[in-house]
Amino acid sequence: MEKSKEKELKVFAGHMRKLIIEAVFSAQSGHPGGSLSCTDILAYLYGEKMRINTSDPTETDRDRFVLSKGHCAPALYAALSQRGFFSKVAIKDFRKCGSMLQGHPCRACIPGVDMSTGSLGQGISTAVGMALMGKLDKKDYRVFSILGDGELQEGQVWEALMSAAHYKLDNLTAFIDFNGLQIDGKTADVMNLGSIADKVRAFGWNTVEIDGHDFQQIEAAVAEAESKKGMPTMIVSKTHKGKGVSFMEDQAGWHGKAPNQEQYDAAMVELDAALAALEVEV
């Protein structure tokens, strides 16, 4: 990846983070921690990788994305609004009565959302269905999905992984947003997942382990997934919950909590400073 492209994506992600905080603050409800941890992956997908058409969001040949960890809707909405699927102004209405921006992604009401999600474990299965149809219809579109590491506790995830490997879905690439935290604490304490990469590999997937905040690594992993034939790829992405807002980082308490005015102001100052630093970066 060119340095200029990497900088461009950092700026895209920086603006996404501001929109996420804006959304959760306006709603006084929502999930900032996990949204901020998967922001860079989403920034790469929507800012660079995916073949999508904002003027025809349901175009048959588009790449698909399923946010299996649907509670991180603010991150998805931030990416979609940055790409122009809808106005950034709409973000302020997130979770409000009458807004199209439902608390969790809603396929029927939001342009650019490929699947309604929110009930953990189901999104990855629907992505399997999309990838299967890509194969059946001999389309070259690719299907991407992001799961939470806590989400892996849902048995359905493993049913989905089994079926994706069985049907050799090499057009499916999934990310695990491995931030190590869930509502009640560390995933290791709540329900230990053991070695995620080993388990996924044992289910017949190609696995890659990366830093989920490093665009160079994200791009390389996605390229590897694309060149790997006959099996789906899982990109186990080590991330930090709350990434970019220092007082939220690696804190389970910020899983599903909205900032107050003071915290909102502090977060925005920090995110603006990060963006300002990028603008002067050569």
Partner: protein
């Protein structure tokens, strides 16, 4: 006419209408029992065995439907409506996708497998989900028409099918006027009482109507093949014209056909109602015919219920 189970008619209908490339069929290791194997033989590339993982199957079917497919997902009713309930709700119904859940082995007529496999709650459960429509055909001919109708009608459906071979109620193939989603079929005209039946209880009720005739009672019989949207008009008409109603279903008397009819009646034209069905109990192992007797789902039980509401009507 030879008997045929509605599950077999379903498999044949999939083959008959299967040349539509939008149709994909999913099964969960029961394709020989659900008869989706017939489609599998004809269109192997569009049949997907998902293994013993019903929840995943429903969500995968939903993902397929987002790609312009009409996804038929089949397994036993108990697993389709209860094991995979939340997937049906959140993956298929909330986004209002073209997922047709065709569930076989509904009711106690499953027989020997016993209560763990005898689903007597699915009509109530599926009926409660927004966007979902619920069909419960009584014979092979109406199953064929039901499958054609759900292919032609966008959005999610639950189609309740049986294991037991049943007599035909309609002509061998039926015609279009005989099956319209949401429109009950009048099988027998009558003015003393109305029997509203669904699934294989329609056949039991035809026998009941004959028994009542011997007693000088003219019973109307409606085949309520669509549980949702329920045919309120036919129910209100029955209430006004016959003044007493008996519902008959191979299902818990709570929440299914009886519940739906009670709702329509009490909001529009109340009259006496007696619900024949499983009285809030689980089934058990046995021959289907024996179980229908044990759980009082025989023609004479329907007759007794009819006589009871007629007597109360005074």
């Amino acid at each position: 006419m030879t008997k045929m189970a509605t599950r077999e008619a379903y498999g044949k209908a999939l083959v008959e209408f299967g040349n539509d490339p939008r149709i994909v069929v999913l099964d969960a290791d029961l394709s020989k029992s659900t008869f989706t194997m017939l489609f599998q033989k004809e269109y192997p590339e569009r049949h997907f065995n998902m293994g013993i993982a019903e929840g995943n199957m429903m969500s995968v079917a939903s993902g397929m439907a987002t790609c312009g497919k009409i996804a038929f997902a089949s397994t036993f009713a108990i697993f389709a409506s209860e094991r995979a309930l939340e997937q049906v709700r959140n993956s298929a119904c909330y986004p209002n996708l073209d997922v047709k859940v065709c569930a076989t082995h509904a009711g106690i007529s499953v027989g020997e497998d016993g209560a763990s496999h005898q689903c007597v709650e699915d009509l109530a459960i599926m009926r409660a989900i927004p966007n979902m429509r619920v069909i419960s055909p009584c014979d092979a001919a109406s199953t064929r028409l039901a499958i054609r109708a759900v292919i032609e009608t966008p959005g999610p459906f639950y189609v309740r099918l049986g294991r037991l071979a049943v007599e035909g109620v309609y002509g061998e193939y039926g015609d279009e006027t005989e099956f319209q989603i949401g429109k009950a079929n009048t099988i027998r005209e009558g003015s003393d009482v109305t029997i509203i039946a669904t699934g294989l209880m329609v056949q039991q009720s035809i026998a009941a109507v004959e028994l009542l005739k011997e007693k000088g009672i003219n019973a109307r019989l409606l085949d309520m093949h669509t549980i949702k949207p329920i045919d309120t008009e036919a129910i209100v008409k029955a209430s006004k014209e016959t003044g007493a109603i008996v519902t008959v279903e191979e299902h818990n008397i709570l929440g299914g056909l009886g519940g739906a009819v009670a709702e329509a009646l009490s909001e529009n034209a109340p009259c006496l109602l007696k619900r024949v069905g499983l009285k809030d109990v689980f089934g058990k192992s046995g021959k289907p015919e024996a179980l229908l007797q044990v759980y009082h789902l025989m023609p004479e039980d329907i007759v007794a219920a009819a006589l009871e509401v007629i007597a109360k009507k005074g």
